[in-house]
Symmetry: C2
């Protein structure tokens, strides 16, 4: 028997209420969750003076430290280090050349001490010089094998469940979610759709040039070149947003001083805006580092006291992992 | 009274049939229209071996000469020439410096003879050095005033109606339509949504860098810099597609040798692909230039005999304005 059509409006209302609450199930009640709910209500209610037409609903998310674990070392850097033996096999004279020699030694202490300049050499050597299709296949393969040292799980398991929920909640309210990362654009695009539900064309990241050419059989292909087009960090984030999206975001999420300019740029537009910063303050369940509020300084993901003060002054919401999240990962029990 | 629900499937079928024919109303029956219909049918029918999942349905369109008139001179170049007096007013010493002096003279013959290098100087001087917001406002204003010399209409009236119909038809079948133009990305983004229904984030074009900074009151803004990031022409088109979209298109439309690499790249993927080239062969209703099939050679939009031969060999469809279109512009009577 067909259901009475008159029952439909009630179902629709129930559905909406579920979305508004249930989809943020890993969030504790508090100012951070409330800021998200208030922003979505204000921008999607046609009766609201802050209503935002759907085409302008753009939300941008930093990745490392905002959507997944960045400690003790960015996953992409692990990928690059893991790729060094294959690069040396193809070009054996690198075996005795620094920094490749140090990486091959497996001496973790020495590797941890490599300079930024050395790391750049490794990034260029391992991320360029192959076709974009070969690169994609390599990263895909690596993601199925590589495991984080602490949790012994694939890196793509180490996604923050509450942030997945925010992205889903925004999308279900007509927002398009973008990743805006200092990480490699091509690297993140390999798994963004599967892991975050974000398609490749909505990933903005540090990007190198490619070169169009033809194979021996005349088939055209693109080769990744060691030429930096966009350094998508700090001021590079709003610059990358303009280049790749061409609209100012309505909402931005970050966790470090590298996200400051993106949040400032987002906040400088008119109407309702949402700027949020994830504070890592759960040493046992994830990590605690800062040095906002006296948390320890580390090599990656600096959230300075100055940024913390700017957030307070400008009314950006600080998300405390400790106070605002019931759990960090999907595999955690709700705390 | 409520309609019987059992009638719904029939309505849905009728709707689909209307879309398949009615939306290409400015196209004559023939191989070009048929190629479009066949491609859409094959890629959207779940029962087809060539079915393409919606997230992979990407179609890219060159702009100048493919979506709107490019003769006798690209509209964006007219914009730049029109902007020269304002640039000189701000920086008076340019008044006696070439090529600005020639542009200010108003001598059309001399302006037409400016070298590519001179044109580049004019482009950099008129397209950079201001905030992205000021640039957008200037272009928007210009578009309401400037008129094409032949039709005495705003440039955005000179859009090819049959191509608007193809874009709409593809979109109604789940494709996302992108512009991939040698023209300026920021320039085209100003009107792409209004004119083509293509949002700014789906415009890939020749792009310069921007620089993030702060105004006197601390408000952050982006300034357009005279630094080329992407020359989105020829090999730059597939390179730009990879940078900005990160997926290989399923369908590509062009009209000149500048689109060759984009069409080759599109065609090199597996499954169903659609590559089409617009041939300008209607001197009276638009323009006739080539030099494919012996049409006259011109400064812009070269469609070489070699490209024509490649199209025939690779089974790309050539759209003859004369034979395949009932009308060129929305304001034409159907011919």
């Amino acid at each position: 028997m067909l259901p009475a059509l008159s029952s439909l409006p009630f179902s629709a209302i129930a559905q909406t209420q579920t979305t508004q609450d249930g989809s943020l199930g890993s969030w504790k009640e508090g100012p951070a969750k409330q800021a998200i709910l208030d922003f979505v209500r204000a921008t999607t209610d046609q009766a609201s003076s802050k209503f935002v037409p759907p085409e302008q609903r753009i939300a941008t998310f930093d990745q490392d430290g905002t959507l997944w674990v960045e400690h003790p070392i960015y996953s992409q850097v692990v990928y690059c280090l893991d790729r060094v033996p294959a690069v040396v096999e193809k070009d054996p004279k690198l075996k005795n050349v620094e920094p490749f020699k140090t990486v091959l030694s497996g001496n973790r202490e020495a590797i941890a001490k490599l300079s930024l300049h050395d790391l750049e050499k490794i990034l260029f050597a391992t991320l360029t010089g192959m076709s974009v299709d070969d690169f994609e296949a390599e990263v895909k393969k690596w993601l199925t094998i590589a495991k984080d040292g602490r949790w012994r799980r694939p890196y793509t398991d180490l996604i923050y469940q509450p942030m997945l929920e925010v992205m889903g909640y925004l999308r279900s309210n007509g927002f398009r979610t973008y990743i805006v990362t200092g990480g490699g654009q091509d690297f993140v695009r390999v798994y963004s759709e599967r892991v975050y539900g974000i398609p490749p064309e909505q990933v903005v990241g540090t990007a190198g040039g490619t070169k169009f050419g033809y194979g021996k059989d005349g088939t055209p292909f693109l080769t990744k070149e060691p030429k930096l087009l966009l350094n998508d960090d700090k001021a590079g984030k709003p610059e990358g947003i303009h280049l790749m999206i061409g609209r100012r975001p309505r909402a931005s999420f970050g966790n470090s001083d590298g996200d400051r300019e993106m949040l400032e740029y987002t906040g400088a537009g008119d109407g309702a805006r949402l700027m949020m910063l994830v504070l890592h303050d759960v040493a046992q369940r994830e990590y605690a580092y800062g040095p906002a509020q006296g948390l320890p300084e580390t090599k990656v993901g600096a959230f300075s006291q100055a940024l913390y003060d700017e957030a307070k002054k400008k009314n950006w919401a600080v998300i405390s992992m400790k106070n605002d999240w019931k759990r960090v990962f999907a595999f955690d029990e709700k705390g």
